[in-house]
């Protein structure tokens, strides 16, 4: 993916126009050497604009980056964290949900169990992965791996990039509510540390089903919300064109959620977003995980459990008369 040129987003249009101008001038440079100064000036301008653009993103811009079709997905991280990583399949009860990828990763100092949602890259992949929306069987596959990790004392790393659970008939019949609830319940009782990273979209209960962790990290441009901004806009504003407002109102960006005290760390992305450099993104996340594990693995099993319970016990905003 890194060898493909990043596809520009809507809000990146001015930047792209400037880049095109520069390219046009560069093509003429051999014939008109006097253009060199202009090019340099434009380059400077471009860099300035780029920095200013990415340091003043609207919440909706973050959402767009988080949903960028070239955004690195779970497999992209697992492969880069450990080129020999071993994928494990299936819920053992009838399904191997491709929207939930699970396996064993050697991070160097730590061996871990990884669990991540997967959106799919090609159209066929996307369809198979149901655009990153796991089935109940996907959450149960994740749970199987959580239990595996606990049995062998392996820390768990989860990657969250999902619009949420799938609003389908079979998913309801197979009790996806229960599948999510049981994961929340069981994750809170584990005796091995869990680190979750929201790398793209953290959508609702479907995200939380692999997100109850001792430490929750978010990539700089990722988002995390109780409902999709589209859903929020349509319910609260009764208007489909109020998505930007919904994004702002819900405070769903990494920076905002960190300020609210709900997550532990924001992991920086390459300028322009994680899809501009998969290797750097993988290295950043790996570094952040190892840093967290350096502390978490010093705790006893009982303390790890107490820690995760305490973490979520504290979250809430209310007034007591």
């Amino acid at each position: 993916m890194t060898d493909k040129k990043p596809v520009p987003l809507e809000f990146e249009q001015p930047l792209q126009m400037l880049a095109q101008q520069i390219e046009a001038l560069e093509n003429q440079l051999q014939d008109q050497p006097e253009l060199a100064d202009d090019i340099d000036r434009l380059q400077e301008q471009y860099e300035k604009l780029r920095r200013s653009l990415y340091s003043n993103l609207d919440p909706r811009d973050h959402l767009q980056i988080a949903r960028h079709p070239q955004r690195p997905y779970s497999r992209d991280y697992f492969e880069r964290w450990d080129e020999n990583w071993v994928e494990l399949h299936g819920d053992r009860k009838g399904m191997d949900d491709p929207a939930m990828v699970t396996g064993l990763v050697d991070l160097g100092p730590y061996r871990v169990v990884v669990v991540g949602t997967q959106k799919g890259r090609s159209l066929r992949d996307k369809q198979q992965c149901n655009f990153g929306m796991p089935q109940p069987e996907g959450y149960r596959k994740a749970l199987r791996l959580f239990k595996h990790a606990e049995k062998f004392g392996l820390p768990i790393i989860t990657i969250i990039d999902t619009p949420g659970a799938y609003p389908g008939m079979a998913a309801e019949e197979h009790n996806q509510a229960e599948a999510i609830a049981v994961n929340l319940f069981e994750l809170a009782g584990l005796k091995v540390p869990v680190v979750a990273i929201v790398t793209g979209e953290g959508g609702s209960g479907g995200a939380l089903a692999v997100g109850v962790a001792n430490k929750v990290l978010m990539l700089e441009h990722s988002v995390y919300s109780v409902i999709s901004p589209e859903g929020c806009a349509s319910i609260l504003w009764r208007a489909n064109d109020k998505v930007a407002e919904a994004c702002r109102a819900m405070k769903m960006t990494a920076k905002e959620i960190k300020e609210l005290g709900v997550i532990d760390e924001v992991i920086p992305e390459p300028l322009g977003g994680a899809h501009h450099d998969y290797d750097v993104s993988a290295a950043n996340t790996k570094k952040a995980i190892i840093k967290q594990l350096d502390n978490l693995t010093k705790m006893s099993g009982a303390d790890v459990r107490a820690d995760i319970q305490k973490k979520f016990r504290q979250i809430g905003a209310f007034v007591e008369d």
Partner: protein
């Protein structure tokens, strides 16, 4: 009329479209009320007498948290917990109106401060922790206060080794508290894990309607799960699913009876039988608990009735 007949009759009727709960205050004013299902005009006092179940067709009207508690708790035994907990507005949330205003409006309509009432009481003499949600307050949505009150109730049950009963009725997580609302799913589930590992009993009762974040957390984590007849229960809403899969869903999709058939609830119990059934289940499970199982020799043989235990009756 028994449940089967009632349900058979119900099927003959055209499916009831989106049922709106009348305001609790209005309800008490009105002398008459029309059954949403059989269209019979009912005396409000008779309806209340019958626990808001239509005497003719057994339709279960939505009821508020206080009605629920009154129906389940032995008279005069309920002690409310955390009545003073109220929402703050952590996000300064505003859509077409502010969250602060919407909260005021919700309380004006419901007469409640929040969408759940918690406390302890006796149920046929069995001391229990009970929480009841009220769909009439802010659509029964779960924000920080609902989460906190349920967790405190769970912690009380754990500390005093009491059974926990939660009656759900909710549209899901409260959007206006954003990520805080989502985290209440984890917070409540996490507290229930502690309760469960201590060998204590949690009975979840699902009433019309129970959806979204509430279903995907504490509502589906009961040791025993009971649904009320006709209650609609699910994660995603019917309309969202129909839009997604582009086809009509069966009329009984997501009803209590549908869930029973699909193995998601232990039983469907009529409201008029609920209290006795709960009391029976509590008594049945009041035993030595898991702690004794790990000791070298249990003081009470497992499963054996203590001689001084009250007889189990329904």
């Amino acid at each position: 009329m028994d449940l089967k007949e009632w349900f058979a009759n119900r099927k003959k009727k055209p499916p009831v479209e989106e049922v709106k709960l009348p305001l609790a205050t209005d309800e008490y004013c009105a002398l008459w009320k029309q059954c949403f299902q059989c269209r019979e005009l009912l005396y409000t006092s008779v309806l209340i007498q019958n626990q808001h179940v239509c005497p003719k067709c057994q339709y279960h009207f939505r009821i508020g948290a206080w009605e629920r508690i009154q129906q389940l708790a032995d008279t005069g035994t309920f002690k409310e917990f955390d009545a003073g907990l109220v929402s703050s507005d952590p996000l300064n949330f505003q859509d077409t109106d502010t969250y602060v205003n919407r909260q005021k409006e919700a309380s004006r309509k419901s007469g409640l401060k929040e969408a759940v009432i918690t406390g302890e009481c006796e149920i046929e003499g069995e001391r229990s922790c009970v929480g009841a949600m009220d769909f009439g307050h802010f659509g029964g949505s779960m924000g920080s206060v609902v989460g906190e009150k349920i967790v405190r109730l769970t912690e009380f049950a754990l500390e005093h080794r009491l059974p926990l009963i939660l009656v759900s009725s909710s549209g899901g997580a409260r959007m206006q508290e954003g990520i805080f609302s989502l985290m209440q799913l984890a917070k409540t589930s996490s507290a229930l894990k502690d309760l469960s590992d201590a060998g204590l009993m949690y009975i979840s009762i699902l009433s019309e309607p129970t959806y979204g974040g509430v279903t995907a957390s504490f509502a589906m984590l009961g040791d025993i799960i009971i649904a009320e007849p006709g209650a609609r229960i699910g994660f995603a809403g019917r309309r969202v699913i129909e839009q997604t899969i582009r086809q009509k869903l069966p009329a009984d999709f997501q009803t209590a009876e549908y869930l029973l058939k699909h193995g998601q609830v232990d039983m469907v119990v009529a409201r008029t039988d609920l209290k006795m059934k709960l009391a029976y289940l509590i008594k049945f499970h009041a035993g030595p608990g898991v702690a004794d199982l790990n000791s070298e020799a249990p003081t009470n043989p497992v499963g054996e009735r203590e001689s001084d235990r009250k007889p189990v009756t329904r």
